[in-house]
């Protein structure tokens, strides 16, 4: 189960990278391709770091699930919720791709007339 959840998380980030016209890396960071994909996905998009800890938690739960204990079912559920969160976050980012830096949907305003506004405001 942990393999499939990790694979699902990786495919979410691959989707983000492909949508941005990039080739998803096959490299690993700290032993996880997921973390390398996140690093690649956040390059030039600092707001993408809002899901950095979610990815790290997924990796953490993956490691925990490597140890069999009585909490395995709980950890599996938690990892599932984390992957779900990543999916929702990236889906939202994809929907507004080209529209916002996570914190706002006003990028067109900034791109189209930002320079003119700045000129006017700053004199």
């Amino acid at each position: 189960m942990r393999e499939s959840l990790l694979g699902e998380a990786e495919s979410v980030l691959e989707e983000w990278l492909r949508a941005r016209g990039e080739v998803p890396t096959s490299e690993k960071s700290e032993g996880f391709r997921l973390l390398a994909l996140h690093r690649q996905g956040a390059r030039g998009v600092p707001s993408f770091n809002a899901c950095r800890e979610t990815c790290r938690e997924i990796a953490y739960h993956y490691n925990l699930l490597g140890e069999s204990d009585e909490k395995a079912k709980y950890r599996e559920d938690m990892m599932g919720l984390l992957v779900e969160h990543l999916k929702l976050f990236v889906r939202g980012k994809l929907e507004v791709e080209g529209l916002g830096d996570f914190c706002c949907s006003s990028r067109p305003l900034r791109l189209e007339s930002g320079a003119a506004k700045a000129e006017k405001l700053h004199g």
Binding site: P46, N49, A50, C51, R52, E53, T54, R56, E57, Y60, H61, Y74, D77, M78, L81, L82, E84, H85, L88, F89, R91, G92, E95, V96, G100, D101, F102, C103, C104, S105, S106, R107, L109, R110, G114, K117, A118, L121, H122, G123
Partner: protein, 310 residues
């Protein structure tokens, strides 16, 4: 000057949210400060920090707006510390501080607008901006807090939710990640530490810094609702009775989307939301009314009664 002395009296920057949806946070922060003997001097004639709207149209105007708040604190109030309980305000003031220290263009713009507005230009380093968590953690500390607890939160299971603005981006928080005693940007723990000192049982909560979709709450309500629902479910799965918050935007987002998730998606969750200042206030014996618990959308009174805390 050491931190406990320096944080004894701080310039208080509540920010816009604490006058609206986060009113209970404002109330409980003031009540908690009074109970702990910490003084708050509200920044005179403060303005919006530039939040999301201004920042996304012209980031340098946001830098100016935040710098004006710090300028008033430093130059008119002679304060050395500004305390902002809202993650958005805290983040923006820290960002302005960083930009003014490292970017000549930002300094030039801030100087030009400050001159036009007729006030002294803020210079990087004049004040230290802190969050309400730093204020209590470093100004009072866990030992003193433990000593003052009259109504231990023992038996209350808490999921501490910090949101994503409190520690992100890392470079604007140079004081964090400095080893023991400092806050961590990847695993923040100040709220956990304070509530543990008050007797609460912190649950392991993997979504403590996850995005709540706060900024998209109007433009993309469905995604925000699903993100919040996921956070609420994770907190419940971790066994939490309440989610402790330290940001008015996150708090109102969790509360409102909890209601929306039930109405729009038929997904009911029972976990309650309380500001960490409300929980600490309860532990110190302050009345829930003084802490504004009745102003929360989520009915925290019910769980507090259930746990024998009222």
């Amino acid at each position: 000057m050491n931190k406990p002395t320096k944080y004894q009296r701080v310039a208080y920057y509540p920010g816009c949210a604490l006058e609206g949806t986060g009113h209970a946070y404002n109330r409980s922060t003031k009540a908690l400060g009074a109970e702990l003997g910490l003084e708050l001097d509200e920044v005179k004639n403060w303005n919006c920090c530039g939040a999301m709207e201004v920042k996304n149209i012209d980031p340098k105007v946001q830098t100016y707006l935040s710098s004006r708040v710090m300028s008033i604190a430093a130059n008119q109030m002679q304060a050395s510390v500004v305390m902002a309980p809202c993650n958005g305000c805290y983040h923006n003031l820290k960002k302005a501080e960083h930009d003014l220290a490292h970017d000549a263009d930002s300094r030039a713009v801030v100087e030009r607008i400050s001159n036009k507005a007729g006030h002294q230009t803020y210079q990087a380093g004049q004040v230290e901006t802190i969050h309400a968590l730093d204020w209590i953690k470093d100004g009072v500390g866990e030992d003193e807090l433990k000593r003052r607890v009259k109504n231990s939160l023992k038996g209350l299971k808490v999921a501490n939710y910090y949101g994503c603005m409190y520690t992100r981006p890392r470079h604007i928080f140079p004081e964090k990640d400095q080893g023991p005693g400092s806050e961590s940007t990847s695993q923040p723990h100040f709220m956990d530490d304070l509530l543990a000192a008050a007797g609460a049982e912190n649950v392991d909560f993997p979504l403590k810094t996850a995005c709540c979709g706060g900024a998209h709450t109007l433009s993309d309500s469905d995604t925000s609702t699903k993100l919040v629902l996921n956070i609420l479910r994770a907190a419940e799965a971790a066994g939490a009775d309440v989610i402790a918050t330290e940001c008015p935007t996150c708090h109102s987002g969790l509360e409102m989307h909890q209601v929306r998730a039930e109405k729009a998606l038929g997904q009911k969750t029972k976990v309650k939301m309380l500001y960490f200042t409300q929980l600490l206030g309860i532990a110190l014996g302050v009345s829930p009314r003084k802490l504004g618990v009745h102003e929360n959308v989520s009915d925290g009174l019910e769980v507090l009664k259930e746990k024998g805390l009222l």
